[in-house]
Amino acid sequence: MLTINNLSAGYGKVQVLHGISIDVPKGKVVTLIGSNGAGKTTTMRAISGMIAPTGGDISLNGKRIEGKESYDIAKLGLAHSPEGRRVFATMTVTDNLILGAFPRLTGSRPKGDVAADLDRALDLFPRLKERRTQLAGTLSGGEQQMLAMARATMLNPDVVLLDEPSMGLAPILVTEVFKIIERLKSQGVTMLLVEQFAAAALAVADYGYVLENGRISVHGPAAKLRDDPAVKAAYLGGGGH
């Protein structure tokens, strides 16, 4: 579904990614773990076209997308729920969600039933349903995070990138977010997940990649990574709560 081959990227003079390759098969959840500054978010941003890669190629459904503009990549079926939420603060929850379906409304993607999907998204996140007429900027951090995830699903995407969906959330909501990821997975949504709670991420994922200083150091089935002593020591030890 999403294949990344030998990708390099960076900001200005700083090279962050040094040729990484990742494969996200259809219907699977793949997680990317690594410490701060390893390049997880940079990878996500390069995939969704928020920064231009300096090398390598990325293909989505067999189509090359590297170097394309974000809005074109979205039209091809990739949704990005960015780190730090980034909801449209002065618009209502419902409007935020409908905007997520924008390429469907303009005909760049198959339209389907947007209204039904809106209901489905709101059912998935009952808290958002309660607040659907509220301005997104007035939501709490956790609700904004849910909105960003719900908005990503509104594209009817082939692949969803989830960058730190549990960041800054109360423990009770962290559990909630992972339940939602679980539910999306069961609906067959393909996901690439970056998470601070590596253990929880590996629990929900099918496959995992460990990123170290912009290079993939280890990868394998998630269950195997969870039992890998090196990964355990570096990323899983005492990381939960």
Binding site: G12, N36, G37, L139, G141, G142, G168, I172
Partner: protein
């Protein structure tokens, strides 16, 4: 300053100084003189536009105030240049303070409109106040006398040159100092500036005042240079030209100001002369084509990106040979060139050249060595260790937004030297509490006392200076500044030097500046970021940005440090480091309030934990107690936690 830069500067100044010796044509001498005068305005304008990030369309008006100060003083009193120069600077600086007032309330397009109105009003006033300014007739004056000798054109040129170089040095020193950093911090994040003790209010006014002072000096020289002043000169067109010059030349750069001044003076002249225009447009087309080829080869740009500029300049060159006379096309071509520059060279010409040449920077190790880490402990020991055990006491705090009570009758007592956890569901009022404690919000009711003094009603910068430092949930760094500079802004309070100290580089300023730099590096080392000291803050990964915020907050030498979700987005090993850092901070006698969702961090560090839910305190006590509390589990912790 690097030796090569110094050499270039000396060559440049020497060339300018020798120019009238080589060229006797008064027209060209006057042209270069005008460029230098405009450059002085632009140095000042760049402070406001480039550094503080405000828009000013009032600078032509200020320029006019400077010119008319001279005109009136000479016309009415026959004053000498010794009086008119300081008078023009001071009076215009006063007008600059007036112009700053709207900037304190509005920003963006609104500020542009208000400053535009300011410029227009000045022009109208000059026109109408005939008793002082001779109105539309204008004022004639002669070149000034210096030491009893009346200056001729060439000698006055040298006076302008000397003053321009002086202005350049002074402005450069200001912008490299703590004042310049304060200006830049305003642009990066006003909230964070205030919370670092850099009053947004005060430094916005300073920026406009200093900027106006330069405009006044330039206006003064302009009056002598033209020997005739009239109200029409200081119009909207001139103000737009000034702004364009800063953008085209490249903001935050003195060379950019010089380049910009050259363009706005020469370009209109150039477009008068068809022969000259042909040469220049061909040269431009060749230049663009060559840089396009280089750019594509180096993989810095694609053929698509470069197609429009290359074709555009080629067309322009072709057009120049087709045209018989320029007069009809002048304005259109000027407009097209302007559009081109603004669209393609967003960092200005200087920024473009810097990028294209990919100027090599000195290695991090060398730069670190040049500064030197402070000897001893970079983290200050908190003051007042033996004072009363209650450092902070908030009682009955109510914070109401419309009908919503974000904080409802909250009491909070923080013991000196403790780590106090503040937890609760998202939206329960934790960050609101932080904002009340740091003066960003004024509570609707209730009292907050810090070290025995009330905090309510005081400004954020005042509270920060009294010893409360903080980090932000949504990182508020000064993005365009380096990590080191960010921390140096936090050290602003360690400077006693004033503008004069900075301009003259007095020993006091040098001492304070060197100490601040090495201490900033020491603080970066403390949080483990010294290798990234010279990286722009916006390029750091999220977790490192959070650490940088902690270093910056520590620079305030706080008694109380508020950390708002420091572990958000950190993975397990990073969290371990963070815990160690927070412990070390406490060892320096600093009291901490910690908002955090990672329960392992909270349980590990906190002496006391308060829990908020819907703006009310629902539990308080030792971590283990709180963790077992039914209400807390229901509202916040949940049954089984993701692991």
């Amino acid at each position: 300053m690097k030796r090569s830069h110094l050499l270039l500067a000396v060559i440049g100044i020497a060339a300018l100084a020798l120019f009238p010796v080589g060229f006797h044509n008064p027209y060209y001498i006057h042209l270069v003189e005008t460029i230098m005068i405009y450059a002085i305005v632009l140095f000042g304008l760049d402070i406001v536009v480039g550094y503080t990030g405000q828009v000013s369309l009032g600078h032509a008006g200020l320029f006019g105030v400077g010119a008319y100060t001279v005109g009136v003083l000479v016309f009415k009193l026959g004053a000498s240049i010794w009086l008119t120069v300081p008078a023009a600077i001071l009076i215009t600086a006063g007008f600059g303070a007036l112009l700053a007032l709207p900037a304190l309330r509005v920003s963006g397009p609104y500020l542009a409109m208000v400053t535009l109105a300011f410029g227009t009003i000045i022009q109208i006033l000059i026109n109408e106040m005939s008793f002082l300014t001779e109105g539309p007739l204008g004022i004639k004056l002669e070149k000034p006398e210096l030491f009893g000798h009346k200056l001729d054109d060439r000698e006055f040129y040298w006076v302008v040159l000397v003053l321009m170089v002086l202005a350049l040095i002074v402005v450069h020193r200001i912008l490299r100092s703590h004042l310049g950093r304060a200006f830049e911090a305003l642009r990066g994040s006003p909230v964070a500036s205030d919370c670092m003790g850099v009053s947004v209010y005060r430094y916005k006014v300073y920026a406009f005042v200093i900027s106006a002072g330069f405009a006044g000096l330039a206006g003064n020289l302009y009056a002598y240079s033209e020997q005739y002043i009239s109200p029409n000169t200081y119009n909207f067109e001139l103000t737009v030209l000034f702004l364009l010059a800063v953008i085209m030349g490249g903001r935050k750069s003195r060379i950019g100001s010089l380049v910009g001044a050259t363009i706005i003076v020469l370009l209109p002249k150039l477009l008068d002369d068809i022969e000259m225009f042909r040469y220049v447009s061909v040269a431009l087309a060749v230049l663009v084509a060559v840089s396009a080829v280089v750019g594509i080869r180096r993989g810095k740009s694609t053929a698509q990106q470069m197609a429009i500029p290359v074709v555009g300049t080629l067309l322009l060159a072709g057009l120049s040979f087709k045209l018989q006379s320029m007069t009809d096309w002048r304005l259109s071509i000027f407009g097209v060139i302007t559009l081109f520059v603004v669209y393609y060279l967003q960092d200005g010409i200087v920024g473009f050249v810097r990028n294209a040449l990919n100027l090599k920077q000195t290695s991090v190790a060398d730069q670190q060595a040049a500064i030197g880490v402070v000897k001893g402990d970079a983290v200050g020991t908190a003051a007042g260790a033996n004072a009363a055990p209650e450092l902070l006491k908030a009682s009955g705090v109510l914070m109401q937004f419309g009908g919503l009570k974000a904080l409802n009758n909250v009491d909070l007592v923080i013991k000196r030297g403790s780590i106090h956890g503040l937890i609760g569901p998202n939206g329960s009022g934790k960050s609101t509490m932080m904002n009340v404690l740091t003066g960003i919000y004024q509570p609707t009711a209730g009292s907050v006392a810090f070290a025995g003094q009330s905090v309510v009603g005081r400004t954020s910068s005042d509270i920060a200076l009294s010893g409360i430092a903080r980090t932000f949930q949504n990182v508020q760094l000064f993005g365009e500044m380096t990590a080191l500079q960010n921390v140096q802004v936090g050290l602003h309070h360690t400077f006693a030097s004033n503008l004069l100290d900075v301009a003259l580089r007095t020993p006091r300023y040098k001492r304070e500046s060197a100490h601040a730099a090495s201490r900033a590096l020491g603080l970066l080392q403390f949080v483990g970021l010294s290798d990234l000291a010279f990286e722009e803050a916006r390029n750091l990964p999220y977790g490192k940005q959070r650490l940088l915020e902690i270093a910056r907050a520590l620079a305030l030498d706080p008694q109380l440090l508020l950390l708002d979700e420091p572990a958000a987005g950190l993975t397990a090993p990073d969290i371990k480091e963070l815990i160690a850092i927070i412990r070390k901070i406490r060892e320096h006698g600093v009291t901490l309030i910690l908002i955090e969702h990672h329960m392992d961090v909270v349980m590990n560090l906190c002496d006391t934990v308060s829990v908020l839910d819907f703006g009310q305190k629902i539990a308080e006590g030792k971590p283990a107690q709180v963790q077992a509390d039914e209400k807390v589990i229901e509202a916040y912790l949940g049954g089984t936690v993701a692991e």
